[in-house]
Symmetry: C2
Subunit: 250 residues, 2 copies
């Protein structure tokens, strides 16, 4: 299967076709191996698919907002989602970008601690929290997988703290591009050129910078020949090593 591009708002992807055949629609899910369903068997997949709803979300539409009762959990199957927190005066911090296979909606508390909205047209599986928790009790493998995901997210979050607290604008952009590239590979897409479906403003809110600084830094990297800005929000990395050196502050 040719790697589709689920990341740009220009080339909108078709929803992943779901076979309503023998076992369960989840059997045909192209991102299953990436997410919490990876460890499940046919019978278990059927139980999962019994409690989920497929949703299509338009660019800009919210999946949920910070402070709302946390009633659902989600799995992204196609598209791109941004999650963020706000300060009283509207300052925004993106805490993550989510792509096919990514999982979201965890909450300690009974309410979401952050907001989630679609960047491009996006498809998700939605699980009622209570029902998923009930299933988890019977599927210890899935619980372990969820824990592994949370652990991984924690490591990613710590890396992001290093970036936000200690890296320069140039280092932040370099790290960001390498992150996108690495995640594209894990989804079976091309590592280069990398798709950058979000706006400069979104990138700024993710890296703790302004739109203008993001733009200037891209220009600077382009003029140094380190990246080439392609149409359709794609960026070609000219020498991954150079970017890695910049990203690590070498």
């Amino acid at each position: 299967m040719a790697p589709l591009d689920f990341m740009t708002s220009r080339s909108v992807p078709e929803p992943i076709p779901r076979i309503t055949a023998p076992s369960s629609p989840c059997s045909a899910c192209s991102v299953r191996q990436l997410t919490i369903c990876a460890a499940l068997e046919e019978r278990e997949l059927a139980e999962m698919s019994a409690i989920l709803t497929h949703l299509e979300v338009e660019p800009g539409d919210p999946l949920f907002l910070e402070g709302e009762p946390a009633q659902h959990l989600f799995n992204v199957t196609a598209g791109a989602i941004k999650i963020f927190k706000l300060l009283a005066d509207g300052r925004r911090q993106m805490t993550g970008f989510l792509f096919p296979g990514d999982f979201l909606g965890l909450a300690n508390d009974e309410t979401y601690a952050y907001s989630a909205t679609a960047i491009t047209r996006t498809w998700v599986c939605r699980f009622p929290r209570g029902k998923l928790e009930a299933l988890l009790k019977h599927f210890p493998k899935m619980e372990q997988r969820l824990f592994a995901i949370a652990s991984h997210e924690l490591a990613v979050a710590q890396e992001q703290m290093l970036l936000l607290g200690r890296k320069t604008a140039r280092e932040k952009i370099a790290s960001f591009l390498l992150m996108l590239s690495g995640r594209a590979v894990r989804r079976g897409q091309l590592d280069n050129p990398v798709s950058v479906p979000m706006t400069r403003a979104d990138i700024g809110d993710y890296l703790g910078l302004t739109t203008e600084t993001v733009s200037r830094t891209f220009t600077q990297l382009r003029k140094s020949g380190i990246v080439t800005l392609l149409p359709d929000g794609k960026v070609q990395l000219n020498g991954r090593e150079r970017l890695e050196e910049i990203a690590e502050g070498a």
Copy 2:
């Protein structure tokens, strides 16, 4: 039991006395309710105590370093630990301060993703990774507790990203003091004045600031009457509401 101060390097706490009596030493653990052992019964506590080692760590000594094989997990019983990541040129980002009841050592990978060293004299329980994982298989409650802890850490990390990416120095310090105060309460200590056992340099590395800016900002808050700097690394909060307003960017 009088709330001891486990947080300053000046007044070093005694290790929590452990009763080597009937059931297990863990029965007498004063931080048990705060950590992964909270959900365990007597029999299970005994199994836990069979695989753990008590360690005393001197100020500045490492528990483990970034990149080392992740062989152990830890529970802080007394003292204070800092965890951090480094860039190639020595820039440092604290990703957390850990106090009694806190748990550390999770790793995706086979190696630690961050370093951990003691701030004050500290006591920890150390669990061999493999043995703890084996126990987890039999104690689903503890696994759930671990997942809850990881989820909570994730929420804290997102809050910290908001701080690092979008808050001013003044807002960062205000948030930091409130965070320390809130955590002291959860450990059964006084919320005010709050103990600040770490150096200005450590605080700076946690908040993405320099030592000098931390110092200047404390001075500024003191001159505004918002805090009073007491001896022994204690800070009195004069009006929590004012600090909260500052912290939220109001």
